[in-house]
């Protein structure tokens, strides 16, 4: 059986700007693949190439072994764009009915289940919904057809943490049922939580692709330890993986590459009042790639 998504030498130029540059990517069926990159790295352009909104300058795209220019290919794909635009006066119900009709009809029971799960009132016009509720409409339309492949552009953006969690669980369930999930993100944690593999994009080029476990091992993170007494930076400086330590007053900030295990063990010997971990963005997490 062919892979779910294959791109070979995929390149897209807009005039003199190369937005995607020789992308070779293979996403297997049934896996959750995280497509990481800061804003402007080319994630949305790649996804638009996968959805036949844009046509490659060179190279090729295959989804489920066929070209996405074929309607039959797109029939198997659920898609959530980065910015969802629906006629403001449509209610969610009308929008879902129309989008479902274009796909031969959504299973109504499935739509109802999704609406309940995301606590979305389908009777209100799209234009009156909060950005989070609009996002929910987008998620429901992408998932309602139970597609074999889900291509989601920053799916959790605009959702509150509870709904982010709900969505990520739902994606895991769908993957367990055999669906392939391709999701882009500009932050590591959500991808780290559910993806089995990830690719990292910088300036349109894939700088790394591999198992999420290996990615985690390379990621830098910063934690602040609030101590009961004066902090001493020297206690942490020689721990393996620690790349920077700074102490101000009672707080010691430690930047670590890979596991934080050693730092926590050292901290356990001190009287720690509070631990604050910072959600680092990709540029900070992967200095080597984005410097």
């Amino acid at each position: 059986m062919s892979a779910a998504i294959v791109t070979s030498g995929l390149t897209k130029r807009f005039g003199r700007v190369t937005a995607v540059d020789g992308l070779d990517l293979q996403v297997e069926r049934g896996e959750i693949f995280g497509f990481l990159g800061p804003n402007g790295a080319g994630k949305t352009t790649t996804i638009r190439l996968l959805m036949d909104i844009l046509r490659p300058t060179s190279g090729s795209v295959e989804v489920l072994g066929a070209s996405p220019t074929q309607p039959a290919t797109r029939a198997c794909v659920g898609f959530l764009p980065a910015d969802l635009h629906i006629e403001p006066r449509y209610t969610a119900r009308e929008a879902l009915a129309f989008l479902g009709a274009l796909r031969g009809g959504f299973d109504e029971a499935e739509v109802r289940r999704l609406l309940e799960r995301f606590d979305l009132d389908p009777g209100r016009p799209f234009g009156e919904l909060s950005s989070g509720n609009r996002r929910k409409v987008g998620v429901v339309q992408a998932l309602a057809g139970k597609p074999d492949v889900l291509i989601l552009d920053e799916p959790t953006s605009g959702l509150d943490p509870l709904l982010q969690h709900e969505l990520l669980s739902l994606l895991q369930e769908r993957a367990a049922e055999g669906a392939t999930v391709f999701l882009s993100s500009h932050v590591l944690p959500e991808v780290e939580r559910i993806a089995s593999r990830a690719g990292v994009l910088r300036d349109g080029r894939l700088v790394w692709v591999g198992r999420i476990h290996d990615l985690r091992a390379r990621a830098r993170q910063r934690i602040d330890l609030h101590l009961d007494g004066r902090a001493d930076a020297e206690l942490f400086r020689d721990i393996p993986g620690v790349s920077a330590v700074e102490a101000t007053g009672n707080v010691v900030s430690v930047t670590i590459e890979g596991p934080v295990d050693g730092v926590l063990k050292q901290a356990a010997q001190l009287s720690v009042q509070r631990v604050v971990s910072h959600e680092t963005d990709l540029e900070d997490a992967f200095l080597d790639w984005y410097r």
């Binding site: 638009r48 959805m51 036949d52 909104i53 844009l54 046509r55 309607p71 039959a72 797109r74 029939a75 794909v77 898609f79 764009p81 910015d83 969802l84 635009h85 629906i86 006629e87 129309f98 989008l99 009709a101 274009l102 796909r103 031969g104 339309q141």
Partner: protein
């Protein structure tokens, strides 16, 4: 025909507004005819106007303005009816692809399992059908009110229908320009601008050519001249008035669909 039905439903409310405006405009225009017919001096007044003004208000040599065909041609078929149909058609044509791409509402439709060709054709067909509806509303109003004020003593209602069809083809031509430009560039503004420029330019050229001999050769470029050169309420329809606009509209529609199929789409 899901995209077709959806677009009709989307434009229903606006379409009703246009229809109401059309009924009032046409009814009040036609209802005024008896008053004009009974005042003898209007024709002399009109003869004093410069030739370009006479052409712009649709007066034709040999057909008195106070006669039914003269009046309807000047007040309805040269001005009110085509202006309403053109403005409505240009708006629909520009939004069919250009506007819907610009505001992003087309994105989920093009990524659905529907070919771009089918999507574009259905949206074009819906726009054409809506323009037809508006024209028919105008035509039926003219026939109904015309019958009530006795305009059809010596003028057949069939002629009115033929002239209304010619208005529709003129509207289609401009709708097709707006559609084709919108489908080619994915933006509404250039589509409206191009179609309006052709509408206004053609109208001015038709009027000016009547009084400026230097421009006479150019009037063949004006779709308004194709339509207005011969009063269709008196003369038989010509290929210029009925056939040519349709052929050009067809060519533009094909060009628009082909370029929409081939290019990158630019969603916000």
């Amino acid at each position: 025909m899901i995209a077709f039905q959806r677009l009709i439903a989307d434009r229903r409310r606006g379409g009703i507004g246009w229809g109401v405006g059309m009924v009032f405009g046409v009814a009040s225009t036609v209802a005024l005819w008896p008053a004009l017919r009974d005042s003898g001096e209007i024709d002399e007044l009109v003869q004093d106007l410069p030739a370009s003004m006479r052409a712009l208000i649709g007066v034709q040599e040999g057909i008195p303005l106070v006669s039914a065909p003269g009046y309807l041609q000047a007040r309805l078929f040269s001005t009110l009816l085509p202006v309403l149909v053109l403005v409505y058609g240009i708006g629909l044509g520009a939004r069919a692809i250009g506007g819907a791409e610009e505001d992003g509402t087309l994105e989920l439709a093009v990524t659905a399992p529907v070919t771009r060709r089918r999507l574009a054709l259905e949206r074009l067909a819906a726009s054409v059908a809506l323009t037809l509806c508006l024209t028919v509303v105008g035509m039926l109003t003219a026939v109904a009110v015309g019958a009530a004020v006795g305009i059809f003593d010596g003028l057949s209602a069939t002629r009115v229908c033929v002239a209304a069809s010619a208005v529709w083809t003129l509207g289609l031509l401009h709708l097709a320009v707006a559609f084709a430009v919108g489908a080619a560039v994915g933006r509404r503004g250039p589509a409206v601008t191009a179609a309006s420029a052709i509408a206004v330019g053609g109208y001015m050229l038709h009027g000016l050519a009547a009084s400026a001999p230097a421009l006479r050769g150019l009037r063949v470029l004006s779709p308004w001249w194709w339509f207005l050169d011969r009063n269709l309420l008196v003369h038989d329809p010509t290929f210029l008035a009925m056939g040519l606009p349709l052929l050009i509209a067809l060519a533009l529609a094909i060009g628009g669909v082909v370029s929409f199929e081939r290019r990158d789409l630019r969603f916000p």
